[in-house]
């Protein structure tokens, strides 16, 4: 078992093994999301307050959850790469950033669209969660901009790892501060309240399902990242020469 994990940390082994994992992640993703959407869109009754608009939750919550999880993955991978000097971890961090940003954008967009019928505005400056998501988006942009600005890959890896760690420490602080401010200015309350099991179970399914999807998307991007970083190594050369017409 340990040997397997140890091997997984080496780029060539990871590259070869990861292609097999992807279908095993996509399958649960499709099943869970499929059930979640079916349960959420068709089976669950309309909400007492929000009518059918609440069904946006099955997109919004998984996106928001993934946007934060992706950032944690980015920060932890960067930290491990920085402290233990593992090349693969830096590749993980680089690969996860655009995915995290995409889900953050999705969370913001769906949150805004959801807000329009609920609060009457496309944007509510006082809502702690939306503000935290917005700031998170800026954190992602800063991370990607820093990576892009540094030419040397190793240097970019380390610098962005430091940035991600500093940002990770700040994320809970950001959330807390916006909540405090919101309580001052009596902003509109967010979608809260207890949930019917009929609404909840599909939601859990979509959250887990989207996480599997995220994993599959991430693996694919890590593979590309690894391939690119290792492009001049012997194992890549041998692999390409021995495989004709593979992806």
């Amino acid at each position: 078992m340990w040997k397997f994990l140890h091997q997984l940390a080496s780029p060539p082994h990871f590259y070869r093994l990861s292609i097999k994992f992807i279908p095993w992640l996509m399958l649960p993703a499709v099943v869970l999301i499929g059930y979640g959407f079916y349960g959420g869109l068709i089976l669950a009754p309309p909400d007492y307050q929000q009518g059918d608009a609440f069904r946006i939750i099955y997109i919004h919550v998984p996106s928001a959850y993934l946007s934060m999880m992706a950032y944690m993955v980015m920060a932890i991978a960067g930290g491990i790469g920085l402290i233990w000097r593992m090349k693969l971890q830096h590749a993980v961090a680089a690969a996860v950033a655009p995915i995290g940003a995409a889900f953050t954008f999705l969370a913001l967009a769906t949150g805004s669209i959801w807000g329009r019928p609920m609060w009457g505005t496309w944007w509510e400056w006082g809502d702690p969660r939306m503000m935290s998501e917005l700031i998170l988006l800026f954190l992602y942009f800063g991370y990607m901009a820093l990576r892009a600005a540094i030419d040397d890959t190793a240097k970019a890896d380390k610098a962005s790892a430091v940035l991600a760690l500093v940002g990770a420490v700040n994320v809970p602080i950001i959330h807390f501060s916006v909540e405090w401010w919101n309580s001052l200015h009596q902003g509109q309350t967010v979608m809260k309240g207890a949930m019917d099991p009929e609404m909840l179970y599909p939601l859990l399914a979509t959250i887990v399902g989207f996480t599997f999807l995220f994993g599959a998307m991430l693996l694919r991007r890590i593979r590309t990242e690894v391939l690119f970083r290792e492009r001049r190594t012997r194992w890549v050369k041998e692999m390409i020469l021995s495989e004709e017409g593979d992806k």
């Binding site: 009518g51 059918d52 069904r55 997109i59 919004h60 889900f103 999705l106 694919r220 390409i240």
Partner: protein, 52 residues
């Protein structure tokens, strides 16, 4: 068709689902395109070196 209309909220709800689909599909597509490009570039370079 009632399911489709979503009680007047149809436009909002479905645009969110469409947006999600677009984000995931575009992200995956771009990732695959990039992977193919990286692979091809390496292949070309290696083949060129081999021919010497």
């Amino acid at each position: 068709m009632d399911a489709f209309a979503m009680g007047d909220y149809g436009a909002y709800v479905w645009s969110c689902y469409a947006l999600a689909a677009i984000v995931v599909i575009v992200s995956e597509w771009r990732a695959r395109v990039r992977h193919k490009r990286v692979y091809r570039d390496i292949e070309v370079r290696i083949k060129a070196l081999e021919d010497h």
